[in-house]
Symmetry: C2
Subunit: 248 residues, 2 copies
């Protein structure tokens, strides 16, 4: 049985708290939030607090707060025997300011409170300073998940940038597609099957192999026709990405 | 029973031929390809030819060849009673050069010969010059599919540009994500669940509502950190897309 204290009430904290409360081999000792109202819904299931000085003893402290707050919050954890981890994709392990053991417990997925999470499909990216701590984090991750990766701080930073491309920027491509459809009263849903196919395809083809379209074919006629249909901002993006595809 | 002749042997022609041959209310009279070897695999199921002058009579001729070849190929169809359609996303109905009825039978999906197609999920974007022909195309589409849209030539052109954004450019974002992972020996598969989540999310949120990340939060510190990790080409794309997200 691993005992944990969860610090934070953002989307990640919300979902892991819910999952750990249901897990067999985890004892959630306490949940902390700066504003107690935000976690009042938990008060019948677990001890809650808004005072970092009153944190209970636990094996693992999971800090799931905004990136900027991680150093300060971690410095307040006085339990030197415990393992203190954060859940951020972009913060180095070394920015944890507690005096004892340190680690990272990064779940690579986009969370929103309104959407259920299937933890079995989520990659747990784990880091610690020694094998024993890494083993503890693995054991903890496996109480709710299945996919475990050992990812060091530098790799995690790279993953985080890569995630901006495949999540934030991809979503922005959807937004532009939606804008283009709206302008001519075409329902955006017509594009949904293509969007799903594009995402599914890379399960069995590399993105390089999966590339199709006028850019990779260097079909200048179609490229010109397309540019004529776009506004200035869309044109700029179209040109840059076409060039980038052609440069391989 | 609708009789059809299919002209072409690309990915679309390949899959619709297969589907129509199995459909109950369609009689595939003939399949044409410039090179007879490419359709030799069909010779036990259907009449094949490589001579446009020898096309059989049919209710509908489906031209599924490269965009540039559509005018010439359509001009060779002498049957004036039949409905002649092409399957291109970017060619106007009026570029069909046959003397009789004209239409468009555009399947909005990315096809590859090696991958099975579920026609029930594919949007059929139909266009014709009158209601009767549109009804005939609907009837034909419903023998293999379920999702029917009436899309005129201008809307179809717009859809085709939008498809470049949500398919070609999205895939290029995956490619860049993959490149970034490769550089630091992170398995790209770690990002697959996030990629699927990003694609699935827009089924219940608009892309505008679904946008997250450092750009929309205007998190300058993370943006700077990310830029430091990228090569010149990646930086240029990162900057332009960040700006575009911030301009809404």
């Amino acid at each position: 049985m691993i005992s944990v204290v969860i610090i934070g009430n953002g989307n990640v904290a919300y979902h892991i708290t819910k999952a750990f409360l249901k897990a067999d081999n985890v004892d959630v000792k306490q949940v902390y939030a700066r504003s107690i109202n935000k976690i009042a819904y938990l008060k019948n299931s677990v001890s809650i607090t808004n005072k970092l000085e009153l944190l209970k003893d636990a094996d693992v402290y999971i800090i799931s707060v905004s990136d900027d707050a991680i150093p300060e919050v971690s410095s307040m954890i006085t339990n030197k025997k415990a393992l203190v981890v954060h859940t951020s994709g972009s913060v180095s392990l070394n920015l944890l300011q507690n005096k004892g053991r340190k680690g990272v417990f990064y779940l690579l997925q986009s969370f929103s409170k309104s959407k259920e999470v299937n933890f079995e499909k989520i990659p747990f990216c784990l880091e610690a300073k020694n094998k024993k701590d890494l083993a503890l984090l693995e054991e903890l991750a496996l109480t709710i998940g299945k996919k475990i990766y050992h990812i060091n701080s530098q790799q995690r930073q790279q993953l985080h940038v890569a995630a901006v491309f495949v999540n934030n920027f991809v979503n922005h491509m959807y937004k532009i597609g939606n804008d283009i459809c709206d302008e001519y009263n075409v329902p955006f849903e017509v594009l949904h099957p293509l969007i799903m196919e594009t995402a599914t395809k890379i399960d069995f083809l590399s993105p390089k192999e999966a590339q199709t379209g006028p850019a990779i074919r260097n079909d200048q006629k179609t490229i010109k026709n397309h540019l004529d249909l776009l506004n200035e901002n869309q044109q700029e993006i179209y040109k840059l990405l076409t060039q980038s595809i052609q440069n391989g």
